[in-house]
Point group: C2
DNA sequence: TCAAGTAGGGCTAAATTTAGCCGTATTGGG
DNA sequence: CCCAATACGGCTAAATTTAGCCCTACTTGA
């Protein structure tokens, strides 16, 4: 692994031909779905997110929050109070994602029993 | 890497709490979006898929086709003719995926210019 | 002064996915 | 007989993502 300023230097190209690839690029990452949904519901401080998503390592949660920020889905607001605090929020672009997520999640819920069985034995 | 009968033995648990996770589980894989779309449009024989998605290695394409089959999205039809031939098709479950893909892809296309810029410099 | 809570990065290794090679078997055509 | 096309699996290594450790710096409260 080669890091440059903490960032991984990618070797294989990213494919973004169709719009779904763009969606997948933004959403893929173990905790990103949960992070976006938590922020949408108002759980928007790093500490609170760490507590709720307690199965995730802090490290990875922080990394994925940073990716969501750099992808324009979340904004990070740093308040200059003592002790300083941080809040995340959805950007306008991030808000347009919500109905898409709802629609897509509905598909999954509709077919959950079928899908769960298939995925477990794959 | 440990293989059992050619399959990878997973060590970390899969998370499927919300319907979107189910969708992501089915769709994630470098060529799966393209494969589903090709089959939907009638390019449904392994050789033809290999020729069209020529950047992909045959090996990976075959693996991802097999995963889509085991996830219940595609069916593999083996015709008992000489020389024998194979065709893939969407299952009923796979067909329900099409409008969801269209809707999600539309989101990506709508925001393509913005997203492309953000993703490139992430 | 010490512990705890705030927020966060550096680093290494494990887990997972992808790339790419080589080998199998059948059939049809030159 | 040999080559090409059909379709597919074994295997190894590279690339990428995730896990999990330790460290910094600040502030509040005991």
């Amino acid at each position: 692994m080669i890091y440059i300023c903490g960032m991984y230097e990618r070797k294989l190209p990213i494919r973004l031909e169709c719009g779904l690839h763009l969606f997948m690029e933004v959403m893929s990452g173990k905790w990103k779905i949960s992070l976006i949904w938590c922020v949408y519901e108002g759980i928007n401080r790093p500490g609170a997110l760490h507590r709720i998503l307690s199965d995730a390592s802090r490290r990875l949660l922080d990394q994925q929050l940073a990716q969501l920020v750099s992808h324009g889905i979340l904004v990070k607001k740093v308040f200059d109070v003592k002790p300083f605090k941080v809040e995340y929020g959805l950007t306008p672009l991030g808000q347009t994602l919500i109905p898409v997520i709802e629609n897509t999640a509905r598909w999954g819920e509709t077919h959950r029993s079928e899908l769960e069985t298939l995925i477990r034995n794959s």
